[in-house]
């Protein structure tokens, strides 16, 4: 069990008021708040150790490099990767998927090949593949979802064929919170001879994720959704696949050597070892330090406890929301198959009205498509309101949220 009151002391922002009400932050699927430990670690880096990493001999650069490499190792251990060479630092999930789409997709996809995604994907797991399909003349295929938003596994598996080169699926839907059986999909993809990419943006921050157990070829996730700063994220890739891939971007840091043949007037370039091959330019060292501290914070809480806490809140809120007459809950009705993401609507009000109402009472939620327009079109919804929980949210906050929903209902 989490000691939520103690946790809340680490988040100064939760003490502030918004519109004269205590802040209730229920927009955690978009981004999370940051504990003082993470802010202190980032400040300490810039205050005491800031330098560009790698290839400098001075003390500050050595210290920065040690911190940066420690961050790689911390990430690798957190997701049980075989080593830090399998964890590439990127800006976030979007860049991680784009990296695979461009660096792997452009060189391995050809006319008629298929990229299999699902209807529940975030735009960041659709749009890069649409762009690459346009460039390679491959086709993007969409696996179906059931009426409750759950994945139709049979549909997805039946769509796999010799043409399917990669299967890309979110571990947890950012709209419904449903947890997909990604192990089953990865196994089916591998039996079909396809690669499997998992969008872990909504799973890695909320539950134990073990890449060896999942056997996925790629896993993408963002630091800012798990207490770390914005602008840092991770692409996990199996070493043997990353080694075969060509770089995503060129520049400093990602090369071993750029030698120039004076006679031929030509460059000869060799790539850096992993993960440097995919980290062109001076990396976001401060962000990596923040991510390392965020992971340490989550590990101290225990990811099983994080998951259990969100399950408790989900089980608590769902029946209460159902009691509010004008509220409709979307997605699965069973709290045991989902994470702490609650998509809902209020009869007669747009999702933006609902979000503005709640904002007036200091409660922050999301409204709109949540970057998942295809799923909303499947549900025939113009948009949805979405409340989402994290480690610092409490039952008392849920009670206040329900009280305000009941007030809105009277409007």
């Amino acid at each position: 069990m989490l000691d939520v009151n103690k946790i809340r002391e680490d988040f100064p922002i939760l003490k502030r008021k918004v519109n004269d009400n205590p802040l209730i932050y229920f927009d955690n699927a978009a981004t999370t708040q940051k504990p003082i430990q993470v802010m202190d670690a980032v400040r300490d880096f810039y205050q005491n150790h800031n330098a560009a990493v790698h290839r400098a001999v001075h003390t500050l650069s050595q210290e920065a490099t040690d911190l940066y490499e420690s961050a790689h190792e911390e990430v690798a251990k957190f997701i049980n990767a075989r080593g830090s060479e399998e964890t590439v630092f990127v800006r976030g999930t979007t860049e991680a998927i784009n990296l695979v789409a461009y660096a792997w997709g452009l060189r391995n996809l050809k006319r008629g090949d298929e990229i299999l995604v699902s209807l529940m994907e975030h735009h960041s797991n659709i749009v890069p593949w649409e762009i690459i399909s346009e460039m390679t003349k491959a086709n993007v295929k969409f696996g179906e979802v059931n009426d409750d938003g759950s994945l139709n596994y049979e549909s997805l598996e039946n769509m796999m064929s010799k043409k399917t080169k990669i299967v890309c699926l979110s571990h947890v839907s950012n709209v419904t919170g449903i947890v997909n059986d990604v192990k089953r999909v990865v196994r089916a993809a591998h039996e079909n001879g396809s690669l499997a990419l998992i969008d872990g943006a909504q799973s890695v921050p909320h539950m134990p994720v073990d890449v060896k157990d999942l056997e996925a070829d790629f896993l993408a996730f963002s630091g800012h959704k798990m207490l770390a700063p914005t602008g840092i994220g991770v692409l996990y890739g199996k070493k043997e696949i990353l080694e075969k891939m060509e770089p995503f971007q060129g520049g400093g840091g990602m090369i071993r050597e750029v030698s120039f043949d004076m006679r031929k007037r030509q460059c000869s370039i060799s790539w850096n070892a992993l993960p440097g091959k995919f980290e062109a330019g001076t990396p976001n060292v401060g962000g990596a330090v923040g991510l390392m501290e965020a992971i340490r914070y989550l590990k101290r809480l225990g990811m099983k406890n994080v998951k259990a806490h969100e399950e408790t809140l989900t089980k608590y809120v769902m029946p209460l929301m159902k009691k509010v007459k004008k509220v409709t809950l979307f997605g699965p009705k069973d709290p045991y198959v989902k994470c702490g993401i609650m998509p809902f609507g209020i009869k007669g009000l747009s999702s933006h009205d609902v979000a503005l109402f709640l904002d007036s009472y200091g409660i922050m939620i999301r409204s709109g498509f949540h970057c998942a327009q295809p799923l909303h079109e499947f549900f025939k919804l113009n948009s949805t309101a979405r409340a989402s929980f994290y480690v610092y949210n409490t039952r008392e906050e849920v009670d206040r949220f329900i009280e305000v929903l009941e007030e809105i209902e009277q409007f």
Partner: protein, 89 residues
Amino acid sequence: MVSVEDYVARTEGTCGKEQDVIVMFKFDRKDEAVKKILAKATLKKSIAGIIFELTFGKYSFRLYGSGKAIFRDLQNKEELNALLSDLLS
């Protein structure tokens, strides 16, 4: 002549099929803006002086005491500016 820019910090088209526009008033002038709009528009209903459903001519919209307003069915930015200019004058 009232300048809309004097009061408005930002306008944002909403994400979703509704295509609503949310207007955020400048923090230091939001109370003044809310007061002016309440004096001009017709109140249909409100909750605790925090949320107001209003009409003004052919337009219906919601105004929030927090300094935001949501407008629907506007054709373009010029129409929004003209409406805001009338409401804030």
